[in-house]
Symmetry: C2
Subunit: 419 residues, 2 copies
């Protein structure tokens, strides 16, 4: 047994204090002692450093409770910014967030499609510059870019096993390329993990201790949060809910296995069935038109279902029942409290899926005698991944340890425990 133990670094106290201030809005030093469990001396030192770095400002005093009125602290929201980029086949979403995690700028542009990765990266660099320029902030205050994309990542080559629609990105060092093109540090992560963090920063997960954000775009993934911290696993690829096996002899999945949720009931499977049903293909607007993207076609089927088209409703309900069973498996493994449905393909269809998932979890979640699993629909399904990508940069800058995250796989310190 060898290798260094986890350092109990000073940075973690700093990050814990910052996260408490962020969540509280304003808070006194005494409040920080209570909320973090750190000593008064540590809080004094940490707060002094944060003020010197310009991250935190003093902002008046609390109402008196008898004694001396306490000085309140808050983040200087405009002291730092980060760019979040969500790169997908069907679209690229960019957000600029401030230190508090609020979105101060956002643009959506065409996806990677079939273009060469190098060309897409060159375009992305221009779009990042345009976003930052349009908001009119000091570029020096932009800490870096969080870049998130589908599928497993590898430390060596970026996307190790991208989904079929992005196969040409395999072995392309996308983070290094974007870093070079923009001059900004780039953190690369999984879009589903980012979505979970985005939901947490947006307040969408009830501050539960164990949360899965199920992300449906072209495929189905999930991001896992434990006490507000992303659980990443050995290589940053935990939570692959789309590749939960629901039938060992089922249809072949692109990942190499059989009977995966995604192959049985993911957006591509739903769209293929909708196209094979002549009447439904017509009413949903798919007939006679080439596939634009799976996500766009899935949205068309979802809109037909929302209008009450029975065949579309039946298709989505069947998909939802498979997802409900896979979510039960996920909940049984992680002992979850909250499941939030996010990502563009839930933006329209989520209202059909949520009650079916809730019913399944109420009926058959293994630990239902102890606690329920609550299913939530995201309020920011289309942008959660980009917001989470920016949040990762803010966290990583605040906690130097986090720069090694992509290599380490496991979150080394609790930074996002919110009070």
């Amino acid at each position: 047994m060898s290798g260094p133990a986890r350092p109990t670094s000073h940075a973690s106290s700093k990050a814990a204090v910052l996260d408490v201030i962020r969540a509280a809005g304003t808070i006194s030093r005494v409040g920080l002692i209570t909320a973090t469990g750190l000593t008064g001396a540590t809080i004094s030192t940490v707060v002094r450093g944060l003020i010197e770095d310009g991250l935190v400002v003093e902002t008046g005093r609390a109402e008196s409770t008898g004694g001396k009125r306490r000085v309140l602290l808050q983040l200087d929201h405009s002291s730092r910014y980060a760019v979040g980029v969500h790169l997908d086949h069907a679209g690229i979403t960019y957000v600029l967030t401030n230190l508090g995690g609020s979105v101060v700028g956002r643009i959506s542009r065409p996806g990677a499609g079939a273009a060469k990765p190098a060309d897409v990266v060159a375009r992305m660099a221009g779009e990042v510059a345009a976003l930052v320029g349009s908001v009119g902030i000091d570029r020096e205050r932009v800490l870096g870019i969080g870049l998130v994309s589908p599928g497993p990542l590898s430390a060596a080559t970026g996307m190790a096993l991208p989904p079929p629609t992005m196969r040409q990105w395999s072995d392309f060092p996308v983070d290094a390329a974007l870093g070079q093109a923009t001059g900004l540090p780039v953190l690369l992560d999984n879009d589903a993990t980012a979505a979970a963090l985005g939901e947490h920063w947006s307040g969408g997960v009830d501050n539960a201790a164990t949360v899965a954000a199920i992300y449906m775009g072209t495929g189905i993934g999930s991001g896992l949060l434990v006490n507000g911290i992303a659980y990443r696993g050995a290589s940053g690829n935990a939570g692959e809910v789309g590749h939960i096996c629901l039938d060992p002899d089922g249809p072949q999945c692109w990942c190499g296995a059989r009977g995966c949720l995604e192959a049985l009931a993911g957006p591509a499977a739903v769209v293929a069935e909708a196209r094979s049903d002549r009447a439904l293909a017509k009413t949903s607007g798919l007939a006679g038109r080439r596939t634009r993207s799976v996500a766009a076609d899935f949205a068309a089927v979802s809109r037909a279902a929302r209008k009450g088209e029975a065949a579309a409703v039946a298709l989505l309900e069947r998909s939802a029942r498979y997802l409900a069973v896979a979510t039960r498996t996920l909940a049984n493994i992680m002992d979850l409290e909250v499941v939030v449905l996010t990502g563009p393909s839930f933006a329209i269809a989520g209202a059909i899926y949520a009650p079916i998932l809730q019913e399944e979890l109420d009926r058959a979640f293994f630990s239902r005698a102890n606690h329920a699993v609550r299913v939530r629909l995201s309020a920011s399904a289309a942008t959660a991944s980009a917001i989470g990508a920016a949040a990762m940069v803010l966290q990583s800058e605040l906690v130097p340890l986090h720069h090694g995250l992509r290599l380490q796989g496991i979150e080394p310190e609790p930074v996002a425990r919110v009070t």
Copy 2:
């Protein structure tokens, strides 16, 4: 968002130092600084406290490397002891371990069977006293009892949803009863989680960052370790691999769902099939005999398979293929590096299961482009849960925070990160 943030407590430094000393055997203060990342001043303070408490002793000096020879520290292994009790339908295993986690006494006694919980607890109290007495240690040095059992736990009533064989334990406050009968503090946990910790303390998991110990006794469960720390989930019931759904329309499981791994391919399913095959029932010694216990009957089928009985081999290989698919799902969710097969039902059959699991993970684990998942057979399959139960007590005593574990669900601090 409210509730206290995670305290960065002094206890965690103490626990980290202790765990490093335990894993290293002997180590100098300078070595502790390197291994823990703590400052020299902190190490001095913590080590002084540990020596005053009698947990650590100075033990000569390291060989000179030119300068002053460094004083070496090691645990005083006989300064503290803990009892681990693994309570199951088919048997009760007791171990007494010292502060280093070494087993200094062990007994096995008949299981809970159909006896009244109160009667079983009275017997257990006598058996604990006999074990401690037989080893001849000072009873004052026994910190407490770690009690582990199958199935989900609840803070209010002990076993919230025990498996069918232990249904009469539902709502019986087993930890309080055993505490009263013995006069020792009792920590209650899941036997699969304990098995994982037992494997970690026994050195069976290669110091990997993400580990699942798949536990097969009467049922199938798993304990999950992240950096040597048990991942417990919201209510201490994470890792329910036996209730991964492999067929949404499959056979009814006792848990209320359909198509669970345990219903399709667990020991009870294997035994039922073996009994229905007249020839196999005869050669495996099941024919004409009433079921003693599922675990004993499963062991009989396993022995027949190990002797080359083709029908028994086929049955276990079929069970192993289901378990392999469920393990792939578990690995895809947790992004695992190591799977260790433990528990009494793997003690004989593990050699048949392990290669089938390894083949499935090599072929179809989602992140196989990044890293392999290694399958290991436990060297202490029959006692890992009891060892882990005792380890929990040692950890909890060393880290006061851990006393709240059963209620909190989530491990609050890294204590078992081994270097």
